[in-house]
Amino acid sequence: MPPVLELRGIDKSFGPVQVLHDVAFSAHSGEVTALVGDNGAGKSTLVKCVGGIYPIDAGDYLFEGRPVQVNDPRAAAELGIEIVYQDLALCDNLDIVQNMFLGRERKSGLVLDEPTMEEMAERTLAGLSVKTVKSIRQLVSSLSGGQRQTVAIAKAVLWNSKIVVLDEPTAALGVAQTAQVLELVRRLADNGLAVVLISHNMNDVFAISDRIAALYLGRMAAQVKTSDVTHAQVVELITSGRSGELGLNNGSGVAS
């Protein structure tokens, strides 16, 4: 089966600064692909390219084997790509229902169809069965970190998406909340979605991922099966871009 999402030769610059160099990446249905890399490696930038927030400068973007143009967030959403951004996941000043449907509100006539949206939001949250929230009409600003991630993930799965990308969803969470979110992430993949998880925690990555993609200074050092590598190898890929046979060639000209 071809990967649901495949990127080839992606370049992305901000003005004179090239952040992504010739990046290849793929994500498969029913699998969790961990995207790892040091701070500033370009993980969030890659995710924003996938989500259509940043246009790519060069490279191929294939969805279910077909080349596609994703020039804005709507295009990504229409393909079935849902992204929980590290910094832009939710609007604090809106409530849970408003956030889950933001940009895709249900209408009846001219006005919002609140009952339908509330019902769908409740059903989705209940289906994830992670964390209780007091009311789905609660402002997001009043939620705990774990609840926010749950809402953000619920928002991503509400749309029968094919790919869910999570940018450091557990970075701000405690131990128990992290475990819950990871369990939820694993369950999404088991339900057939392609999940991309960005995380700095090697234990989490090895606990739930099927594949690992390591970015090093804006280049894809390696994308491997989790069962084929050790913690130490992945850490080496993250910190130096190579590990034995794996990783970037010496001659690839990665400047430090």
Partner: protein, 324 residues
């Protein structure tokens, strides 16, 4: 835990809310209005006479319409400093068209269109030119009043029209037609802000523009829309203004600008965008009108009125620091 039942919010008893500063901040305008009404009524029993209430509501109509427009803009974290000059421009267009003579309906339409265009120009420059709204609308403040002076050649035009007269003298009981129009505007605005897709996108644009864009919302279109709405309402206010004073004057009305912002602040709308109500600024407008009217009834010199308004607004702004 499969019990993700989402219980209806269990409300705490209302008495505990009274001890919460956030509660007072949210309802500052209403509390202020009640206090003012009681104080003025005690000091001068004619304050709550039918005649005085009717005249206050009539006086509040223009400010309510402007404050609603200002609310839309401020809810996106912007500000429309040109709202009063745009109203003046609308009034002058009405006056010129009426004396052309193109008849009242067309003249009113032209007034609203001219003001809406001024608003749209604000919005387009702010959204596409990426220039601070403060600067753009300050420019429009000057440009619109200048245009009004040019169009009118600096002279007021008296307009005696039975329909406009009815607008400012007739009504439903103590509710003059102008006030009725203002209430309808507020009701529609409330529905738009809280029960439409556009309203949700507007609040998202104000509260978290980057997140809104990440969800595919065109925050630029929202910006253009709110300034156009603000201009359109300034045009409507222009009609009420001409009806009220029986003339179209090119003179600027700076107190309307100040009071429109003041009403919005009093109404608990966050100047940082993303949160607010329509009822709040409406009550804020009523409070400001009651304040000025009460002081006048008590024989306080007109010179003290701006001072009083200023003090009340800054107090309200201080209270908003306790907003949740």
């Amino acid at each position: 835990m499969a019990n993700a039942t989402l219980a209806a919010d269990d409300r705490e008893p209302w008495t505990s809310r009274l001890r919460d500063a956030g509660f007072w901040a949210e309802w500052a305008a209403l509390v202020g209005l009640v206090v003012l009404v009681v104080v003025f009524q005690v000091l001068n029993p004619t304050f709550l006479s039918t005649g005085n209430i009717a005249s206050m509501l009539l006086a509040a109509a223009i400010l309510i319409v402007l404050a609603v427009g200002q609310t839309f803009v401020i809810a996106t974290a912007g500000i429309d400093l040109s709202i009063a000059s745009t109203m003046t421009l609308g009034a002058v267009v009405l006056g010129q068209a009426y004396s052309a003579p193109w008849g009242l309906p067309l003249s009113c339409l032209l007034a609203v269109v001219a003001a809406a265009l001024a608003g749209m120009v604000n919005g387009v420059i702010i959204a596409w030119g990426r220039i601070a709204d403060f600067i753009v609308t300050l420019g429009m403040l000057s440009a619109a009043s200048g245009l009004a002076l040019i169009l009118a050649d600096g002279k007021p035009v008296t307009i005696i029209d039975p329909a406009l007269l009815a607008l400012s003298t007739g009504g439903l009981g103590i509710f003059g037609w102008s006030f009725v129009i203002a209430v309808v505007v507020a009701l529609v605005a409330h529905a738009v802000l809280f029960h439409t897709r556009f309203g949700t996108h507007l609040l998202a644009t104000g509260g978290a523009p980057e997140s809104a864009r990440a969800m595919g919302i065109s925050t630029q279109r929202v910006k253009i829309a709110v300034y156009t709405i603000s201009g359109t309402l300034a045009g409507l206010a222009a009609i009420l203004l001409v009806a009220r004073i029986g003339a179209a004057e090119p003179a600027s009305n700076t107190s309307f600008l100040l009071n429109s912002v003041a009403a919005v602040v009093l109404g608990g709308v966050s100047l940082f965008g993303g949160r607010g109500t329509i009822i709040g600024p409406v009550i804020g407008a009523l409070l400001l009108v009651a304040l000025v009217n009460g002081l006048t009834l008590l024989g306080v010199s007109q010179f003290y009125q701006p001072l009083a308004v200023g003090v009340v607004v800054v107090l309200a702004a201080l209270l908003t620091r306790f907003q949740r």
